[in-house]
Symmetry: C2
Subunit: 294 residues, 2 copies
Amino acid sequence: MSELKRYLKAQQRAVDAALRRFLPRESARPATLHKAMRHPIFAGGKRLRPILCLAAAEAFGGSAENAMPAACAVEIIHTYSLVHDDLPCMDNDDLRRGKPTTHVAYGENVAVLAGDGLLTEAFAIVAQTPECRNYKTRHYVVGLAQSADSRRLIGGQVLDLEGEGKSLTKAQLVRIHEAKTAALLAGSLRLGGMSANVSPRKLEALTIFGRNLGLAFQVIDDILDVTQSTEQLGKTAGKDAAVDKATFPAIVGLEASKKEAQRLTDKALAALKPFARQARRLDEIAHYLLDRDY
Amino acid sequence: MSELKRYLKAQQRAVDAALRRFLPRESARPATLHKAMRHPIFAGGKRLRPILCLAAAEAFGGSAENAMPAACAVEIIHTYSLVHDDLPCMDNDDLRRGKPTTHVAYGENVAVLAGDGLLTEAFAIVAQTPECRNYKTRHYVVGLAQSADSRRLIGGQVLDLEGEGKSLTKAQLVRIHEAKTAALLAGSLRLGGMSANVSPRKLEALTIFGRNLGLAFQVIDDILDVTQSTEQLGKTAGKDAAVDKATFPAIVGLEASKKEAQRLTDKALAALKPFARQARRLDEIAHYLLDRDY
């Protein structure tokens, strides 16, 4: 296993342990609800967002320990959004990471409420991030909200639903990806940086890095949906085409999509150039994410 | 109009104005989502929770201005919970305060997301509450979360759903009401008190007042569902009995329910006795809430 993979594995384990600690136990009443909240959290996620949060903190002299509440909060936000997006009235997905989605396992009503419970916990947890000179609790809470609110994460899902069956332009599709994916990725990096008391200049660099990484990541996801099987993905393949959802490959073609993913990653990496030595790990992670098998 | 009614009217208007200011505009993109978020917020709510929050602040020497972010946050939390509770997979209610519920007006998927958007905004807003000596942003955020999380507000809805069609004991029903109604009412009063930098003793008194007021309020709601028409209620009457939901009148009878409401209100009022002069307004509001026509 490469050094990077060992690092990712170790960070993933640290995040898993922290999530287990932060979230209410399965035995807490009502037990059904707390089981339904843990079900999607411990379903084998890669912990990409929290790992980026921790790496951003460590890159700029902060500690994983101080960044951990924010790291867990972004993962919980990501997870709640998947639970709600998978609902029958939304994307109607039965399978996620090879496991039954929350509404399949616990019923639609409990899945809605489990999502609500996770979203609420995320804010209680991010508020535990230690304050530093430049950034106070208010900045962490508002920062999390502004990565995931009705203009960003949630708004992106609405745009996505509204776009189904329509022919979107590339610009419209980028707008959906920006809201639905890039904002929370950028937010993860920003919160990590904030916990390390970074300067406004470094915070801006992390934002640009995160936004472009997020866009690249989403283009790659679109590509994989076309090129891989359900088994390889751990979720239903060909789903986008089946519901006539606009994707990068559908709009600009497969080859142009691959080039776009490369261009966006280059743009992301360029943002960190001024801090090359410190940001080596973030750079590595970006390469790792782009070099997925597609 | 009595002095109290004028006061309630004025507070309601102040809360409405603040909510208009705090929430994203209808024109913000995606417009459908932001319209769907404002729809249930400006549907003629009584603003009971924010008014209690403001009154608690003012009772103990704080200002309505400082308490306003917290007041709006609790109203937004209350509203998102109604939007999700009304969904077809939950209580399946088409009518709320005489108007179509959010999923009827905007579709089920947008209603889920509008609720998520409101919940997210509530935390961004409560984090704006000015800090004071005893209470920091962290206390407001965690205080809000702990009034509305999977053990309280959301857990109560799960217990409520699980109880449908079953014969519950009085203790089980009280537990549902505590989680589903009393916790957020107590939280509203606590947050208001916190913004006024109250002592732990006063915070405890506000908590006991709020919890018992909330329980009384819920018992009265159960009574009204039996005794009033759909027109009087502005929501579907007889709904509880129709879905075979456990209610106070169903378990202990109508007369005993009325006595229970009175007993709980007395208990609430007793908590404020040591601060009788300061808490006169809270006392008046409690009387006003109990003296509804049932």
